[in-house]
């Protein structure tokens, strides 16, 4: 008798704990459900619908016509598509390396103590937070052939060129400007990530190295850099993903630089508005990105 009572009670506790857990699970699902429905119906479903559309000749009015893989064939045999791929790679590589290096350099400076440091730190975030649309015109003015400062310095003062011209007027030069513009806009991001890592490095390693007579380069190479390796690796992959898909930063500055997003935009929303081909293009761009990420994760991060 004396044994029975606690047994019953503990059974009841288990049952109660079990229903509590089910209740908890149900509550968790209730809370996440709106997010799941929204993301499912407005992100996942459209992507599947995009695959479906890429198999059709999409009409703006009336029914779509099934054409199988014709859109893909059209895209892949078009030399301007391959040119866009090349431009995208140049853009992504240039911007990623540029932002990471400049971010690293700026972080190494900002980690030191100097007067007005917090003001300076706030000021250099401005490019990152200001809306793209509000800064593109200032950059365009900078390269304006008539009034811009760039021509004033290179033509009037240094006599580097034979006549005034717009540096963003031709595709070859414009891609360089687009890269510099993107570096300017996003270096604060990599700087912030690197700075927060730098600040958490323990000082004792440096002190020991100093006693051993290490040079500042050696200190950077053997103490700082290994600590930063992971954060730099993640900056690179984030920047690759974002810059590969960049649209606004390029298109609003100049429509001369046809990276894939801009190329697709022109195909799908100007002229004949070939949205079927646009859908195929968007999907190809996505697959290229996934391919690159898998390669990067395996070969560079060696996961």
């Amino acid at each position: 008798m004396t044994v029975k009572v606690p047994a019953v009670r503990s059974n009841r506790v288990i049952v109660k704990a079990h229903t509590l857990r089910i209740e908890e699970e149900r509550f968790g699902w209730k809370l996440i459900l709106p997010s799941v429905i929204i993301i499912g119906s407005l992100i996942i479903y459209p992507i599947i619908y995009n695959m479906y559309l890429s198999l059709f000749d999409v009409k703006l009015q009336g029914a779509n016509i099934y054409i199988g893989l014709q859109n893909y064939k059209n895209v892949l045999t078009d030399p301007s598509f391959w040119h866009a791929v090349l431009t995208t790679f140049i853009y992504v590589i240039g911007t990623t390396i540029g932002t990471t290096l400049i971010g690293l350099g700026v972080a190494l400076v900002m980690v030191k103590n100097f007067p007005f440091r917090s003001l300076v730190r706030a000021l250099i975030l401005l490019p990152y937070i200001a809306p793209v649309i509000s800064v593109v015109f200032s950059w365009q003015f900078f390269f304006d052939p008539v009034n811009g400062l760039f021509m004033h310095v290179t033509y009037d003062m240094l006599h580097l060129f034979e006549k005034r011209f717009s540096l963003i007027g031709s595709p070859q030069n414009a891609v360089i400007v687009a890269i510099i513009f993107n570096i300017w806009r996003s270096f604060p991001f990599s700087y912030l990530m690197i700075l927060s890592r730098l600040q958490s490095i323990d000082n004792s390693g440096y002190e020991a190295a100093e006693i051993d007579g290490a040079s500042s380069w050696q200190k950077f190479r053997y103490i700082t850099f290994p600590e930063l390796y992971f954060v730099i690796g993640s900056i690179v992959i984030l920047r690759v993903i974002w810059n590969f898909n960049k649209f606004e930063d390029v298109y609003l500055l100049t429509d001369n630089v046809k990276v894939l997003s801009v190329y697709t935009y022109f195909k799908a929303f100007t002229g004949v508005m070939d949205q079927g081909q646009g859908a195929a293009l968007a999907l190809i761009q996505f697959l290229l990105l996934i391919g690159f990420i898998l390669f990067y994760v395996k070969k560079v991060l060696k996961w």
Binding site: W29, I32, V120, V132, F286
Partner: protein, 320 residues
């Protein structure tokens, strides 16, 4: 002595470096401000300080004192005629106000503000519940959802643009201005949702569970805990996420340019500015003044939450 000299060189070099970095970051903004205040004859002058201050651009954009400027004198005389009813008078002046010569900056500003505010507010509510769920409650499928949110980061806007546009066309939403506007509102909410979920999830995990336990023992239900304990505790994080989402929507160009293309009254600031720049060649003072006014709210919001935003940004990267 030698050491001292070397030190001085080092120090000046260091300050020059800081000066260089700050100039690189800030110069485009200074140029913007300077140009918005310059008269046309002054545009080619490389100095950043205007020879004469010109406030016309700001006045025009903000609609100060320009109400009747475009109205010819003959019409003005007609307006003074006492025989006219008020409604007639208003319809006449209205004709002259919307000549298209004036850039309806305030209306675009209003459109942008309404879209960004509503979208990020709804997204914040949905994300608070969702983030609480997957950061605090154990259930099957939680891991998939968490990873799924990260996966969504990889999708560029262009991948969603065509299918969503097709859906809007086929469902008839894109046929009316209000339908397009609502579509855009929903899209902005969706676009800011993954970021909000991710940032809030990270934050909720940093709140000690013991606080919730105490509330549970006091007899609070789970839902009460969310709005009595979690929300008050995470107000700084919530406002940061809200402002971040607001900034995403405020900056958005791609979807707005497609959905609002044929509804000029509903333009947001980014497409309005771009259209202004394309339609009229080189009216630099107005373009720059509009740029400054577009950037100002975002910069102010940023300054309010600077500290939180910076730590939020660095806690694992945020979608752009």
């Amino acid at each position: 002595m030698v050491v001292k000299k070397k030190n001085i060189i080092r120090k000046t070099g260091f300050f020059l470096l800081i000066l260089l970095i700050v100039t690189f970051a800030v110069f485009p903004f200074l140029q913007m401000l300077s140009l918005s205040l310059k008269y046309q004859f002054d545009w080619g002058n490389p100095s950043l300080i205007p020879k004469k201050i010109n406030l016309e651009a700001y006045k025009e954009l903000l609609n100060i004192g320009t109400k009747l400027r475009a109205v010819p004198d003959s019409i003005k005389r007609l307006l003074e005629n006492k025989a006219l009813t008020r409604a007639q008078r208003r319809s006449i002046t209205k004709k002259y106000q919307e000549t298209g010569d004036v850039f309806p900056f305030l209306r675009y500003f209003g459109n942008s503000f309404f879209l960004s505010f509503t979208a990020s507010f709804i997204s914040l509510i949905v994300a608070t519940l969702g983030a609480y769920s997957f950061s605090r409650i154990n259930y099957r499928g939680r891991g998939i959802i968490q990873r799924g949110v990260l996966f969504v980061y990889m999708f560029g806007g262009i991948l969603l643009l065509i299918p969503l546009y097709q859906v809007a066309i086929k469902s008839g939403l894109a046929r009316t201005g209000s339908g397009s506007f609502i579509s855009l509102l929903i899209i902005y909410m969706v676009q800011t949702l993954p970021v909000s979920l991710y940032m809030l999830g990270n934050y909720f995990r940093s709140i000690p569970f013991s606080i919730e336990e105490a509330a549970l023992i006091d007899g609070c239900t789970r839902f009460e805990i969310i709005y009595r304990v979690i929300i008050p505790l995470s107000l700084p994080a919530l406002s940061t996420v809200f402002i971040y989402a607001f900034m995403i929507a405020w900056n958005e160009y791609l979807f707005a340019s497609v959905f609002l293309r044929s509804y000029k009254n509903l333009y947001t600031l980014p497409i309005g500015l771009k259209a202004l720049f394309v339609s009229k060649n080189a009216i630099w003072d107005r373009i720059m003044a509009a740029s400054i006014l577009t950037a100002t709210p975002v910069v102010i919001l940023f300054m309010i939450v600077q500290k939180n935003l910076v730590s939020g940004l660095t806690s694992g990267g945020v979608k752009e």
